[in-house]
Homo-oligomer: 289 residues x 6
C-alpha cells in the first residue's frame, strides 16, 4: 500500500526545537575550543557521511542548525530525507567559517542521527511486511519534545502515523474499559458522545471482547498482544467492518507473521522511543576555496 508522499515540515515548526538544542549546547560562553584553536577567518568544507546503512531523515534540521548559527554556511544535499544510504554515502556538504561549522556540528548530527535512526528501523519493518496489506505505524510513545519530528521520521521511513495527540480521535484502552465497566459501556458511551466526524478505535485483548465490539460497531479495533493465529481469527471476525490494528510486543522477527495474519496496521512504540541513532559523522574535507 502507498503512504503519504514525504513533505518537509515548514521551517516555522522546526525553528524553536533547533534553537533549544543550540542553546543547550552553547552554554553561556559559546564554543571555547574553536575560539582558542581555530583562526578567525578560517573556512572549511565538511561532509556528513553515513557510517552504517539506513534511511535518512532530518536534513532540514541539520541545515537549519547550521544557518541559525551562521547564515554564511552553505549546505548542498546529496540525498534527500527518505533516501536509503549505505556506509560511506556522502549525505551533504557543508561549507563556511570553520568556527561556525564546529559550533553547529554536534547539534546537526544529533538531529540527523536521531531521526535517521527512527526512519531506518521503520524502513526495515516496511520492507519486512512487503506484499502484505499491513502498514507500519508509530504511537504516542515518543521522546518528549520531539513528537512532530519523530512522526515525520516515521513517514520518511515509509511508515504511517497513528494519532498525533489526545485530540485526534477516540482510542479506548484497557484503563478506560476498566473504569467504564467493560467494553460495551465504554464503546456505547463514546458513540453517544462524539459526532460522526470523530473516529473511534477500541483496544481488545480477546475474541470475546472483539465480538462485543463488533456488535456495537467501531471504526477501528486495536488487537492487543495477540499471537498470529488469534490475530488471523480476529481478522476473519472483523471481516472488513473495521480497521484491524495489531499492537503489543511486536518485533522485527515477529512482524511478518503479524502482517500475514491480515491486519491493516501494525503499530509499535519502540520505533520512536527505542530506535538506536544512525551513525553519521562529519569529516573535514579541506580548506574551503
Amino acid at each position: 500500500m502507498t503512504d503519504m508522499p514525504l513533505a518537509q515540515l515548514p521551517r516555522t515548526m522546526l525553528e524553536p526545537v533547533i534553537r533549544r538544542a543550540l542553546d543547550e549546547d552553547l552554554g553561556l560562553a559559546g564554543d571555547v575550543t574553536s575560539t582558542a584553536v581555530i583562526p578567525k577567518g578560517h573556512a572549511s568544507e565538511v561532509v556528513a557521511c553515513a557510517r552504517q546503512s539506513g534511511r535518512i531523515a532530518g536534513l532540514d534540521c541539520a541545515e537549519l542548525a547550521c544557518t541559525l548559527v551562521d547564515p554564511a554556511i552553505r549546505v548542498t544535499r546529496h540525498v534527500d530525507d527518505g533516501d536509503p544510504v549505505v556506509s560511506g554515502t556522502v549525505i551533504a556538504t557543508f561549507e563556511g567559517p570553520s568556527r561556525s561549522l564546529l559550533i553547529a556540528e554536534r547539534t546537526a548530527l544529533n538531529f540527523m542521527g536521531h531521526l535517521s535512526g527512527i526512519a531506518s528501523v521503520t524502513a526495515d519493518l516496511v520492507r519486512r511486511v512487503e506484499g502484505t496489506r499491513a502498514a507500519i505505524a508509530c504511537t504516542r510513545k515518543t521522546t518528549p519534545g520531539l513528537r512532530a519530528l519523530e512522526k515525520y521520521a516515521v513517514r520518511a521511513g515509509g511508515g504511517m502515523n497513528h494519532r498525533y495527540s489526545l485530540s485526534d480521535a477516540v482510542l479506548i484502552k484497557d484503563n478506560h474499559i476498566a473504569i467504564a465497566g467493560g467494553v460495551g459501556p465504554a464503546l456505547t458511551r463514546a458513540k453517544q458522545a462524539v459526532g460522526h466526524m470523530v473516529k473511534i478505535e477500541i483496544e481488545v485483548d480477546t475474541l470475546e471482547q472483539l465480538a462485543k465490539v463488533l456488535k456495537i460497531g467501531a471504526d477501528a479495533v486495536l488487537l492487543d498482544n495477540m499471537d498470529p493465529a488469534t490475530l488471523s481469527d480476529a481478522v476473519s471476525m472483523i471481516d472488513g467492518q473495521a480497521i484491524a490494528e495489531a499492537s503489543g510486543g511486536i518485533t522485527p522477527d515477529s512482524v511478518r507473521a503479524v502482517a500475514e495474519a491480515g491486519v491493516d496496521l501494525i503499530s509499535m512504540g519502540w520505533i520512536t522511543h527505542s530506535a538506536p541513532c544512525l551513525d553519521i559523522g562529519l569529516d573535514f574535507v579541506g580548506k574551503q576555496g
Copy 2:
C-alpha cells in the same frame, strides 16, 4: 570510585520541558477519549510498574507531568531515582481524578521510560567495570532538548557527566587538529589562549600523537578508538600526568577490557542517544476511596 550523590534538578529546570511535552500530547482539544468515556467525578488509583529490570530515573518529571495537568493528583513514591527495580516492582502510586490521570499518563511514562532507559544501561556498564578505576561517562551526543535530563539520568545510573556544553572546557578533537595543523599547534594555541581555570583535553588516535601531547601537557587525553593493548600502553605513557579517557566504539562486551587497561574514564555517546526505553506501565488498581 564514588560519584556525586544524586540531587533532584530544581523544578524550575524541569517545568518548561514537561509543559512542552504536555502541549504536544494535548493538541487543541485535549483528551477526547476520556471526556467521552470517563464519568466527570470518577477518581482512580493507578500504579506505575516496572515491566523489566533496570534503574529508575525521571520520577520528578512524572510527578510534575501529573500535577501540571491537575494539582489534585497525589503521588506516592515507592522507589527513588537511582534505585534498581525488577519486573513487577511498583514504582509509584498516583491517585486523583481519573480523567486527569489518563491525560497525564503517556507524558509521565514517556519521561520515565526514556530516562530510566538511560539510567539502566549506565548502571549495567558501571557494574561491568566494578573494581577498576574507570568511571562511565556520557558525551554531548544527547537527544535534542533533553540534555540536562539525560545527563541527570546518567548520574542516576551511577555514571559521570563529561562536558555539558561547548562552554565547559576545551576539548580538541580530530577536526580541530586537522585545521590547526597537528596536535602540537592545536594544543599550544589552546594553552596560550585559555587561563589556568579552564581544563584542556585533547583527542589522540595514536601513541605518536600521545607522545607529542605529553611533551606539551594537557589536563586530559581522549584516547580514541584504541584497542585494549594500545590503551594499556597509553596509560603507561601517561603515567598519571593527565586523565586518561577512552572513547570510540566501546560496547557492553568490550567495556571491561577497556577498563582493565587502566583508563580513568570511559565515555560512550550511545548511552544517551541509543539507550532503549525501560518498559514501565501504568496499571489501574481500583476506584479511589
Copy 3:
C-alpha cells in the same frame, strides 16, 4: 444528535494564553489607577453578571486570570460553562484584595465575553436546527492565537468541531482541485497517498462534481454554497455513502432550511471569527468580610 460532553481544557493549555493577555494589559508599571485610588488592604466581593441572554464559556479562563494575578482571589461559580444565562444572571462571585480584582477584571471579562459570544451564537444555531439530523460546526476561520479556546466555546454552545488544524484530515478545496486539474485527479491522488486511518473530505460546487466524487468515494463531501433544493438533491445522491456537510454563506435565517435538506453537518466560519462578545459586567457588591 448528541455532542461530546463538555470537558475543561487542562490548565496547562490555558495558562500561556492568559499570561499573554495579562502581560498586554499590565504594561510595564501595572495598574496605576488602583495603586493610587484603592487602599492597600482593601478587600472586595464582586460578581460577574450577564447583561444579555446567552450561553457561558470561559469560566476557567476568568478564574485563572484572577488567580495568576493573585492566588488570594477566591472564585465561586454559580453557573458552569455551557449553561444558558439571561440578563441579570449572576455567573460567578470573586472575593479578594480589591486591587488584585481590579487588575484581573478586564482580562477575565475579555476572555469570558469573547468565548461566551461564540458559545451563544452556536447555541442559537443548535436550537434552530433542533429535530433535524444536522450538527453545527466551526471551521479553521478562528481568531489568531485562540483556536483551542474558540473550538472549546463552540462545544460549550452545543456545536461540534471540524478539523483543528491542517494536520487533522484531508480537506480538498477549490484551489486544490484547480491545481490538481479537477475533482477526479485530486481525489484519486489523495486516496492513493493517505492510509486508511486518514479521513478524506472534498468540496463540491455542483451536482456534477458530486457525481464524480461519489464514483471515486470519499468520507465526507463539503457541499459549498448550494441552495436548499440543490442540497436536498445532493443528500439524495449521497444516500449515506459519505457524510454530507453544507457550508458557505449560511446565516441564522437560512440554517433551518439547510438542515431540513438532510445534511449531517453545517459549518460556518462566522461563529468563531465574527460572533459578537456576550455582554458581561463585573459589579462591586461590597466590602468583603
Copy 4:
C-alpha cells in the same frame, strides 16, 4: 480632526503573534492535504480579493505569515493598510510554491479579515462623525493576545487609541469610585498620588458627579451612558477645562448625535471585541510563470 499617520508596527512585534497562529494551524504533521494532492514543484499565483466593502488592515501580518512559512513566497501589494476597498478589489498578489501558499493561506486571511473588520467599522464611524470635533477611540476591551494589532487596526480605520494598558494613565471607573467612597475622595487621592506627568481621567454618570469633578479638576472626563442632551449639558459645564469623552452603549446609529453634543472623544469597546471579520478570499489565478 487629524489622527496620527499610520505607521507599520516593527516586524519584531508581529512575529511572535504570527508564529503562534501558524503553530495552531500546522498541528504536528503540517498540511496533509497539500502534501497529498499538490505536486512538489508546483508554483502558483494567487490574489487576495475583497468580497465586500471596507478598510484594509493586516497586510504586514499576511505577508509575514507567508514568508515565515516559506521565504520563497513573493508578495505584491495593490493597496496599503488604511486604504478603502470595495467588493472585488484585488488587495495583494502572492506568488510562490503552491504547497507553501496553501499552508499560509488560512493564517494570512484570518489576520487580514480580523484586522480589516476592525478597521472597517472604525472607518464607518469616523465617516459618520465627519465635521464634528469628535474622534473615534477604542478601549481595553480587546481580543486576548491581539491588543497591539487591534489598536493598530483602529488607527488604520482613522480612529484613535485610548489607554493601551493599565500602566498608561489613571482612569477612575465606577468600581474605583465605589471603593474609594465617592468621586471626591477617589479623585483627590489620585491627584495626590501621581505626579504631574500622569494624566487622570474619571468616569461620571451624572451632572452632579461632573460638577464635583470639575471643582477638583481632572485631565479628562468619561461621560458614561448619557443621552445626547445630557452630554451637551456636560460639554457646556466642562467648557474646555477637561477632555470630554463619551462612552457606553454608543452604536453607529447614535454616534452622530453623540458627536454633535460636542464631545472630544467617543470610545466604544465593540469596535475591537465585536467587529465582524471583513470577507476576503484568496483566488487561484494560474500556474506561475
Copy 5:
C-alpha cells in the same frame, strides 16, 4: 510633592524574569557544590542583611526566586520595599532546605542588590531636592530586560517614572528636530498628527528654541544640558504653560541647584543604568528548628 504609593508588581510580571535568571545560574546540572557538600535533609535559617545604608527594592523578586526553586522555603520580611536600611539591618529571614537556599541565594541577591542600588541612589537624590517642587525621574536608559523592575525600583526610592516605552507619549529629541528641519516644523507636525489624549514633550537646548516652542505650545519641555541660571530663565519663560523638565549631565552634587531653578522634573539616565549594587549578604543563622 507626593509620588504614587508603591504597589507590588503582580507576580505574573516578575515570574518570567526570575525564571530566566535561575536558568542562567543553574546551567545543565544544577548546583554541584551543594549536592556534594550539604546533606540531603539539612534545613537552615538564613538572613539577608544590609552591609551598607540604602533603600530596599526587590523583596518580591528575592522571595519568588526562592519559592520557584523550592516551594518549601518560607520567607519573613522585616522591612518592605521602599524602606531605608543601614548597615546591619536584617531585611528578611529565609527558612527551608539548605540545598534549596544555597541554589536560590545568588539569584535572590542579584535582584535585590541591583534594584536596591537603584532605589538607594534615587532616594538620595529625592532627599537632596527636598523642599523644592522638583521630582526625580528616570528615563528609557535602562538595563535590557529589566525595565519594569528598574522603573519600580525608582518608585521604591521615591522617584517618578517618565515614559515607559516609545508608545507612551511624543518626546521630540535633537535627532527628530534635525530631521524635521527645526523645532517649529517638528512640533507643528506632532501637534497635527496626534490627538488630544497624547502628551507632547520637546527637547530644547537654548532659550531661543524654547521661545519658538512656547509660541506653538507643548505639554512639557525638556531643558537639555542647561546651567542653573539658564534653567531659571527658562522656568520664568515657561511660566506654568508647560511642565519644565531638566536633563543632561546632572549629578548628586548639581541636583539641588537644578531643583532650585524651579523645574518640575529632573530626569537622569544614570540612576537606572549606572547605579552601583547595594551590598546585601546572606548569613547563615543556624540549623533550622
Copy 6:
C-alpha cells in the same frame, strides 16, 4: 598572561535577549514620536560616538537590535569589540530609514553602553595589574538575564571568566563550610563525591583554614578578604599546589597590591554588577544618499 581570544557569541544566543529589550521599548504602539514627526521615506546616516574613554563591547548586540527592527539598516563598524576608544571615537555608522534608526537607537545604545561599561572597568584593572601573574575575573554577581553577555564583556576587557553557573565546578563557600561543620568535612565530602573531571575550589578566611585545605588538597583556593601581607603568606604556603584566587573588597586602588602578593586570579563582583555605563551617543550625520 594571555587570555582567550575574543569570539563573537553566535547570533542565536543574542537574539532572544535583544528581542526582549525591543519588546520593552516598543510597548503596544511602537514609536509614536517618529511616526508623527519623521516623513515616511526619510533615510539617515547616524554614527555612534564614544563620549568618554573606555573599551568597547556589544557591537553585535547593537547591530542586531537595528536589523531586527528593520533589515534595511546597514551597519559599518570602525572599531571592534575589545578595542579601546577615547572621547570622540566614531564606533560605527548606521544607515537606513530614519524611523527605523530612531526606533532601534535606545536599545542599541543600552546594550553597547552597559557592556562597554563592564569592558572598560575590566580593561582598567587589567592595565593596573600588568606585569604580575594575576588575571582579573568576574563572578556570578551579574545582572539578571544578562550573564552570558556580561561575561563576554569581561573577556572583551581582557578579563577572565570564573564559573558561569552553579553547574560548572565545586566552589565551597562560607555557608557550605558552616553547614558541613568546617573546612575539613566540607572538602573531604566534595572530594569523595565528585569525579576527577570536576574542579574543586574552597574559600578560606584565615591561614589556619588554608593549612587544613592544603593538607587535604584542592584545585583552587579562594582567599577571602585578606590584606596583601596575609595574601603573600598564603601564596607562599600554597606554593603552586593550588590556584590562588583573591576576592573580597578589592578596588581599583588596592588591586595592584593584591596582584603583587602573587595570586593567580583576582575576582570582583562589582565589575559586572556595578560598572557604570560607558557614555556613547548617536549623532545624526545627514540625510542619506
